[in-house]
């Protein structure tokens, strides 16, 4: 449905999008995740004809949209922005405006606005002034406003970035519902990796103007391509080493005095980076649970940082390690700064990438 070829965008000296190619089939929810300033918004704005590409092309159902530049092409898309853009008129007029631009008959407008307000759960808000709404309500109106125009392609630029958790959940449910009901192709940017995971069929991790990795949410969150992606998706344990021997698919990787056991098809002698999530690291008081395919490293606790129901624990096991365990476990084991503990993780937990 949408094909992006070698897209580049420069603002003055600054190259924000660097030769991006991407293809999105009809009905897909594609999420662009990445840190702020990576170029996520710019890609969406280029697709929505709000910016002109420096190089490359965007093809929507066979039409090169920046060559065509027709209002009809533009009217096939709808975009919701990070900052809620609500016009200083009633909610009804806010939702109706796209239809007015398209010279739709008033009766049809009435019906569509009512339907859209129903979908976003704001029935009866018609006469309220747009500016009196809360941030979450504004963003739902922005969605309703786009919905009434029946877009083939829905672009969402960090639509929940400024909202409270309840509103975020509501908008996410709406996005899924809209997709289910209308099979709309959706491209969404977010810097919330978990949101990407909740909503997307496919994720592209954008770092510094390029896609560092494409994949299903599961692939992205368990098998990052490189340390940038890893760091961004929360795979915070990143250790460089070399495969020194192998035994039936298990590689023994030597790194800074410790030896890590991990599944890997790579041959002996390969320089590798090992990635694993803090959530995959368990902590115990002694090494007695150690099995043959488990990595067990004794170490000392450097710090314990509470994070909601979890504790983030920095360890020094020869190499720095990060573990995430429940606060219950932290208390039961009496873990505090300076405690001597054992960190362990399965050989299947790490993702091993050639350096």
């Amino acid at each position: 449905m949408l094909e992006i070829r070698n897209l580049t965008k420069r603002f003055g000296e600054n190259t924000v999008v660097k030769g991006v190619s991407l293809s999105i089939p009809k009905g897909e929810i594609f999420t662009i995740i990445g840190p702020s300033g990576a170029g996520k918004s710019t890609i969406l704005r280029l697709i929505n004809l709000l910016e002109i590409p420096t190089e490359g092309s965007i093809i929507l159902d066979g039409v090169n949209i920046h060559k065509e530049k027709s209002i009809e092409v533009k009217r096939r898309m709808g975009m919701v922005f990070q900052k809620p853009a609500i016009f200083n008129v009633s909610v009804y007029e806010n939702v109706a405006i796209g239809l007015r631009f398209r010279h739709v008959r008033e009766e049809t407008i009435k019906k569509k606005v009512a339907d859209a307000l129903d979908i976003v759960g704001l029935t009866g808000f018609d006469d309220r002034k747009g500016k009196t709404l809360s941030g979450g309500e504004m963003q739902r109106i922005a969605l309703a406003r786009v919905l009434v125009t029946d877009p083939d392609l829905l672009l969402l630029d960090e639509p929940t970035a400024n909202l409270d958790p309840v509103s975020v959940r509501m908008i996410e449910e709406l996005i899924l519902r809209i997709h289910k009901e209308f099979n709309t192709t959706i491209i969404m940017s977010t810097h919330d990796m978990f949101q990407g995971q909740r909503l997307a069929h496919r994720i592209g991790v954008m770092i510094d103007g390029r896609f560092a990795q494409f994949g299903t949410p599961r692939e992205i969150f368990t098998t990052p391509n490189d340390r940038f992606v890893a760091r961004f998706v929360g795979v915070e344990n990143v250790i460089d080493g070399r495969i020194t021997s192998k035994d039936r698919g298990i590689a023994f990787i030597k790194a800074d005095g410790i030896s890590i056991k991990a599944l890997s098809p790579l041959p002996v002698g390969t320089d590798v980076t090992v990635f694993f999530r803090p959530e995959d690291v368990a902590i115990s008081g002694s090494s007695e649970h150690a099995g043959s395919i488990r990595n067990v490293f004794p170490g000392r606790v450097l710090s314990v940082i509470p994070m909601g129901p979890y504790s983030r624990i920095h360890l020094n096991c020869g190499v720095p390690l990060l573990a995430m365990i429940t606060y219950m476990a932290t208390e039961e084991l009496g873990i505090r700064e300076g405690s001597e503990v054992c960190a362990s993780f399965k050989a299947t937990a790490p993702h091993v990438v050639k350096r």
Partner: protein, 228 residues
């Protein structure tokens, strides 16, 4: 001191009894300045929108010139319009000198820079996300401009009211182009100027109060609309 107090008493009397000449002058003032404001708005709002949302060389210079002209002296406008519409001028054949129409033209010229300039500032003050949203929703260029102006309507209204205030309170151009002809081109400001110089303080004070009242009413109306 007594003269002033006496003046105020007579002034109130003139207003309460609806003195025909005072009323006539007031109505003429309002009509002329309102006409000028309307004409200037019709020119300034589209022009200001086009300037704001078009890119061309010398745009900033143009905006600077427009802003400089906010302080355009009224007698200079009087002189300029006089040169244009006096017998010898290019529009002399239209015989506009010493007519209310001529005064409307002069006041229109006077407040055009303010209206264009303030329209530009009002539109510039609109959040860029609003502009993006309008474009994204599939607005044509015209629909876009109309919607943006509508979005800035309160700020633009305030600009229009300011323009009206400047038009109705100026005296230089009104006297040069209108000539302060009784029953024909005499307006509040020119009448105050004349009556004062002739020593009729009471009439001047009455006209002054009316001038202030008009400004007050217009501003109240604006406030009501803006708070709605």
């Amino acid at each position: 001191m007594n003269e002033i107090i006496e003046g105020f008493r007579t002034a109130i009397e003139l207003i309460i009894t609806l003195n025909p000449e005072v009323i006539e002058i007031s109505i003429r003032s309002i009509i002329i300045s309102l006409s000028a404001t309307l004409i200037a708005s019709f020119i300034a709002i589209p022009t200001g929108s086009l300037i704001t949302f078009s890119e061309f060389r010398g745009k900033q210079a143009l905006v600077n010139i427009i802003q400089t002209l906010y302080a355009l002296p009224t007698v200079l406008v009087g002189l300029f319009v006089f040169l244009l519409i006096s017998r010898a001028g290019p529009f002399g054949f239209m015989r506009l000198l010493f007519t209310p129409e001529g005064m409307v033209i002069a006041q229109t010229v006077l407040i055009l820079p303010i209206l264009i300039g303030l329209t530009i500032s009002s539109l510039k003050g609109i959040d860029t996300t609003i502009l993006d949203a309008l474009r994204s929703l599939g607005a044509t260029k015209m629909q876009f401009l109309r919607s943006v102006v509508s979005e800035a309507r309160y700020a633009i209204m305030a600009a229009v009211v300011l323009g009206f205030g400047r038009a109705i309170s100026e005296v230089g151009a009104a006297i040069m182009i209108g000539g302060n002809i009784r029953g024909h081109t005499r307006v509040l400001t020119t009448a105050i100027s004349l009556e004062t110089s002739m020593g009729y303080i009471a009439v001047s004070i009455a006209l002054g109060i009316i001038l202030l009242l008009i400004a007050l009413v217009i501003n109240l109306l604006l406030a009501i609309v803006q708070n709605r």
